[in-house]
C-alpha cells in the first residue's frame, strides 16, 4: 500500500496524462466496418495457417447469429454500431525488441505512459500493444533460458503453431457469447505465455495496451498456459485517448493452470470515458492449481467483465479480487464467477466498488457447484461505497449449489462514506477532498496491497485523479 503522501500534488487530469493521441500513421488500416472480407484480410496479412482462418470465419458467423446480451445495460450495448469501427490497425512493420527501433511517436507515447521505466525497474518481460499489434516486445534472457515463452499472440501463433492450436479457444469457445465471437473473428495481438513444468517466474510479465485511433476496435487475445508446478504473474494495463467518438475494446483472455500451477493475472484498466470495454476472461484450474484474478477497473463508458475460474481438479483454489470506480456517465458492470466441478476445491471473491457523480457500479457474480464438487468452501464479500446521492450501486450475485457438502457464505453491503471518518480526518487538518480521497484509498486497500508497489502508487494516483472535484 502506497503512502497517502505519494498522491498529493498530482494535478494532471486524464486528458493530459493519458488522453493525448498521436497522428495516425498506420502501416495498414482496414476499411471501416466488418464483413467476411475484412476477416479474411486480417488473417491474410498475418499470414496465418488455414485452421486459424477457418476458426475466424466460423466465429464471424457465430458473431452474426448471436444476439446482444439481454441483461445488464442493454441501452449502452445496443448503442454500439459495429459498422462504425475500424477492426484492424497495424501501427508498424514489425515488433521491435529495443525501444530505439519503435517508431518515435509511438515510443514517445509509451515513454509518457512510463512503460520503459517500469521495464527497467521490476519487470521480467514487456509487450506494448498499440491499437491492433505489438510494437515492442522484450523478455528477460534468464526466463528464455528456462524455456518460458512470452510473445505477442501473433508471434506465438507463428512460432508455436502446434501449442497454440492445442489450447486456443478451448477455455472460451467462440460461441461463448457475442463479444467472444467477435474477438475470435478479428483478434489481433495480446499475449501468448507458456511456462514450462516447474518454472517459477519471479518477476511479473507485463503487457500494455494502448488504443490510439478514433473509432478503433482493439481485440487482443491472450492465452497463458502454466504447466505443472510452475508459477507466473502477468500484469496488463490499458489506456486510450479521450476521443469524442466511442472506441471498442473486446478482449478474450484464457488461462490454463495445470496441476499445482499458480497463475496470478492483474489488470489495471484506465480507459478513457468513451471506451466500451467488453471482455471475456476465464481460467481453468486443474488439480491443486491456484488461480488469482486481480482486476481493477477505472474509466470506460461501459465495462462488462466477470473474470471466471473453473475449478476442475481436486484441491484447486481460486481468488478473485475485483475493484471498480464508476464516475460520471460510466457504468462499471463487473464481478466474478467461480464454477466448482471437483472435490475439495475452494474460492473467495472480494469485490469493492465506488460510485460517484452519477456513476453506476454493478457487481454481478456467480457461484456454481456441480454435483461432483464435494467438500467445497466459498466466500463472497462485496462492499460498495456511494459518494453522493445521484450515484448507483447494484449487487447481482447468483449461487447455484448442486454439490455435496458445499459451504457458501455471501455478504454484501452498500453504504455512503462515513461522516465520522471524514470528520476525524478533517479535524487532523486534512481538507474535505483530501479526507475523502484518503477514505477511498483505504477502501481500496485490499486491492492495492495485492499490487507491486509501483502499481499501487499508480493506482492511488488514478484514484486521486478520479476524486478531483469530488468535493466542493
Amino acid at each position: 500500500m502506497a503512502n497517502i503522501s505519494d498522491i498529493h500534488g498530482i494535478k494532471e487530469d486524464y486528458g493530459t496524462k493519458y488522453g493525448f493521441h498521436d497522428e495516425e500513421n498506420y502501416v495498414y488500416k482496414s476499411r471501416k466496418g466488418l464483413d467476411r472480407d475484412v476477416v479474411i484480410e486480417i488473417s491474410k496479412r498475418k499470414q496465418e495457417p488455414q485452421w486459424m482462418l477457418d476458426f475466424r470465419l466460423k466465429a464471424y458467423d457465430i458473431f452474426l447469429s448471436k444476439p446482444r446480451p439481454t441483461w445488464g445495460n442493454c441501452d449502452l450495448v445496443n448503442a454500439i454500431d459495429f459498422d462504425d469501427i475500424y477492426y484492424y490497425l497495424k501501427p508498424s512493420k514489425e515488433t521491435a525488441d529495443k525501444w530505439d527501433q519503435v517508431p518515435p511517436d509511438i515510443k514517445n507515447t509509451f515513454t509518457k505512459l512510463g512503460i520503459p521505466q517500469a521495464e527497467q525497474k521490476f519487470l521480467a518481460g514487456v509487450t506494448a500493444q498499440y491499437d491492433s499489434e505489438a510494437v515492442y516486445h522484450q523478455i528477460n534472457a534468464e526466463l528464455q533460458k528456462q524455456g518460458v515463452i512470452f510473445l505477442d499472440m501473433d508471434a506465438g501463433l507463428r512460432e508455436y503453431p502446434d501449442l497454440v492450436r492445442e489450447y486456443f479457444g478451448t477455455v472460451i469457445p467462440a460461441a461463448d457469447n457475442k463479444f467472444a465471437a467477435l474477438n475470435s473473428a478479428v483478434w489481433s495481438g495480446g499475449s501468448f505465455v507458456y511456462v514450462p513444468k516447474g518454472a517459477k517466474v519471479a518477476m511479473p510479465l507485463q503487457a500494455y495496451f494502448r488504443i490510439n485511433a478514433q473509432k478503433a476496435g482493439q481485440f487482443e487475445r491472450t492465452l497463458i498456459i502454466a504447466d505443472e508446478g510452475s508459477s507466473v504473474h502477468y500484469i496488463e494495463g490499458c489506456t486510450a485517448p479521450t476521443w469524442s467518438e466511442d472506441a471498442l475494446h473486446s478482449a478474450v483472455v484464457e488461462l490454463i493452470a495445470k496441476p499445482s500451477a499458480h497463475i496470478r493475472y492483474t489488470t489495471i484498466q484506465n480507459w478513457a470515458n468513451n471506451v466500451y470495454n467488453l471482455v471475456t476472461k476465464r481460467a481453468v484450474a486443474h488439480e491443486n492449481a491456484f488461480v488469482e484474478w486481480v482486476d481493477g477497473n477505472l474509466g470506460s463508458k461501459l465495462t462488462m467483465k466477470f473474470p471466471c475460474v473453473y475449478l476442475v481438479g481436486r484441491g484447486a483454489r481460486a481468488e478473485i479480487l475485483s475493484c471498480a470506480f464508476a464516475g460520471k456517465g460510466q457504468h462499471q458492470d463487473t464481478g466474478a464467477k467461480l464454477v466448482f466441478a471437483a472435490p475439495d476445491t475452494s474460492g473467495t471473491i472480494t469485490s469493492k466498488s465506488i460510485s460517484k457523480d452519477g456513476g453506476r457500479a454493478s457487481y454481478r457474480g456467480l457461484v456454481k457447484a456441480y454435483p461432483q464438487a464435494t467438500d467445497v468452501k466459498v466466500n463472497v464479500r462485496c462492499d460498495a461505497l456511494l459518494l453522493d446521492p445521484i450515484s448507483r450501486s447494484d449487487t447481482y450475485p447468483t449461487m447455484e449449489i448442486d454439490g455435496r457438502r458445499v459451504n457458501v457464505g455471501h455478504e454484501a453491503s452498500v453504504s455512503k462514506i462515513g461522516e465520522e471518518q471524514l470528520f476525524y480526518l478533517q479535524s487532523r487538518g486534512l481538507s474535505e477532498a483530501e479526507a475523502t480521497t484518503m477514505v477511498v484509498n483505504g477502501f481500496f486497500e485490499a486491492f492495492t496491497k495485492e499490487l507491486p508497489l509501483e502499481y499501487a502508487v499508480e493506482l492511488n494516483r488514478l484514484i486521486q485523479l478520479e476524486m478531483e472535484g469530488a468535493v466542493g
Binding site: D394, T395, Y396, P397, M399, R405, V406, N407, V414, S415
Partner: protein
C-alpha cells in the same frame, strides 16, 4: 352504487381480464423469473374458457362489536358491490409485473371465492382473522384472491391459509393477494401454504405501506409439489417498516421458488428479511430477493438474510440476493449461506447420546428457531408444533 349496479363493473373487469389472458403469451423461458421453473407446469393452455374456480374460502364470523366499529369481512364480489369505492381501486390488472401478467389475468377472470377484509382507521382487531382457502383437487384450477385494507392507525393479524385434501388428481392454483396499510397501520400477516404434495401453486402478494406503517410477514411453506411465489413489499410512505420472515422445508421432489422484493420508495424506510430454507431428499429451492432503494428513499435501512440447509446429497439450492441502490444515504446489507448440517455439531450431539436422526431433527429445529421465535405468541405454539410434527414425520 347499488349491488345490482356494481355487477356489470365486475363483469367487465372479468371479461377484459379474460381477453388479456387470451392475448398474453407465456413468459419467456429466458426471463429470469421463469428461467428455472417451468411456466407450463400450471397447464394454463388447458384453460379454454373462464374456468370454474376450485377454491372455497371459509370466513370466520366477526366478533360481536367489530362490525359495529366498521370492520368488514366478506366475499370480495360482495364487497365490490357494497363498497365499490374501497375495493375498485385495488381490484384491477397491472398490480403484478409483466412476468406475472398472464397469471394475474387468469385469476381476475376466474376467481369466485375472493375475500375482503377492511379495518377502519383507529380500530384494533385483537384476535387473528383466518382467511382459509380450500382448494378442491377435483377441479383443475383454483383462483384464490384476497384484499386486506387497514385504515390509518388500525391494527390486525391475518392468517392466509391454503389447504386441500389429498387426492390423486393434480390441481394448479394461481393466488393473488393484496395488503394495503394506511398511515401508521400495523399488520401481522401469515401466509401458510400447506397444500398436498402433488399441488402446483403460485402465489403473488403485493403489500403497500403508507407512512409509519409496519408489516410483519411470515411465510410458512411446507406444501405442494411446485411452489412459486412473489412477495412485493412497497414502502411508499416515510418511516414505513417491513419485517419479512420465511420458512421453507422441502422433501422428496418438492420445488420451491420464492421471490421477495423490499422496495424502498420513501425516506427513512426500513426493511428486514430472514428466509430459512431446509431441504432433504431431492428437494430443490431457488430463493431470489431484491432490495431496491430509490433516489428519494434517503436514510433508509435494508437488510436481507437467506440461509439454506442441505440435509441430503441430492438436495439442491440456489440463492440470488440482489441489491439496487440509487442513493447514498442508506445502510444496506445482505447475506446468504448454504451448507450441510455441521458434522461437528452432529458429532457433539452424538457424543451426548442422541441418535443421528434425532440429532439432525434437533439441528433443523434449531435452524428454524430464528424464524419461529419471531412469531407472535398467539401463533408460535401452533407453527412450532406443526414444524415439529413435520420434522418427526419426515426425518424419523
Amino acid at each position: 352504487m347499488s349491488v345490482a349496479a356494481s355487477a356489470p363493473v365486475l363483469e367487465r373487469l372479468r371479461r377484459e381480464a379474460w381477453e388479456a389472458f387470451r392475448r398474453a403469451s407465456d413468459p419467456l423461458k429466458t426471463a429470469e423469473t421463469w428461467r428455472r421453473m417451468d411456466f407450463g407446469s400450471w397447464n394454463l393452455g388447458a384453460l379454454q374458457a373462464p374456468a370454474s374456480d376450485g377454491c372455497q374460502a371459509r370466513l370466520p364470523a366477526l366478533e360481536a362489536g367489530l362490525a359495529a366499529k366498521g370492520v368488514i369481512l366478506c366475499a370480495l364480489e360482495e364487497a365490490m358491490a357494497s363498497h365499490p369505492s374501497l375495493v375498485a381501486p385495488h381490484l384491477r390488472r397491472g398490480v403484478a409485473g409483466p412476468d406475472f401478467a398472464k397469471l394475474e389475468a387468469a385469476n381476475l377472470a376466474g376467481f369466485s371465492a375472493g375475500v375482503f377484509l377492511y379495518v377502519p382507521p383507529g380500530v384494533a382487531v385483537d384476535k387473528p382473522i383466518e382467511l382459509a382457502f380450500h382448494h378442491d383437487p377435483g377441479i383443475p384450477f383454483a383462483f384464490p384472491r384476497a384484499l386486506v385494507i387497514l385504515g390509518e392507525g388500525s391494527q390486525a393479524t391475518v392468517v392466509e391459509g391454503h389447504e386441500a385434501r389429498q387426492s390423486a388428481e393434480t390441481a394448479a392454483s394461481v393466488a393473488f393477494s393484496q395488503a394495503v396499510l394506511g398511515k401508521g397501520a400495523r399488520l401481522d400477516y401469515f401466509y401458510n401454504q400447506a397444500l398436498p404434495k402433488n399441488a402446483v401453486h403460485f402465489w403473488h402478494q403485493n403489500a403497500e405501506l403508507e407512512a409509519g406503517a409496519l408489516l410483519r410477514h411470515y411465510s410458512i411453506l411446507l406444501g405442494s409439489h411446485l411452489h412459486k411465489s412473489q412477495l412485493d413489499v412497497a414502502l411508499s410512505g416515510a418511516g414505513a417498516r417491513s419485517e419479512l420472515f420465511g420458512l421453507v422445508y422441502g422433501r422428496d421432489q418438492q420445488f420451491f421458488d420464492p421471490h421477495t422484493t423490499q422496495w424502498h420508495r420513501a425516506p427513512r424506510t426500513e426493511s428486514d428479511l430472514l428466509f430459512k430454507v431446509a431441504l432433504q431428499d431431492r428437494a430443490r429451492s431457488i430463493y431470489t430477493g431484491l432490495i431496491r432503494v430509490e433516489k428519494q428513499a434517503l436514510e433508509s435501512d435494508a437488510f436481507q438474510q437467506n440461509d439454506n440447509l442441505l440435509l441430503s446429497d441430492s438436495a439442491r439450492a440456489d440463492t440470488t440476493p440482489v441489491l439496487e441502490i440509487l442513493t447514498d444515504q442508506v445502510r444496506c446489507k445482505h447475506g446468504a449461506t448454504m451448507g450441510p448440517v455441521s458434522p461437528d455439531e452432529l458429532y457433539y450431539l452424538g457424543s451426548r447420546g442422541l441418535a443421528p436422526q434425532e440429532a439432525t431433527k434437533m439441528l433443523v429445529a434449531g435452524f428454524f428457531d430464528r424464524v419461529l421465535r419471531h412469531l407472535p405468541a398467539s401463533h408460535q405454539e401452533r407453527f412450532s408444533s406443526e414444524i415439529e410434527a413435520e420434522l418427526s414425520r419426515r426425518l424419523l
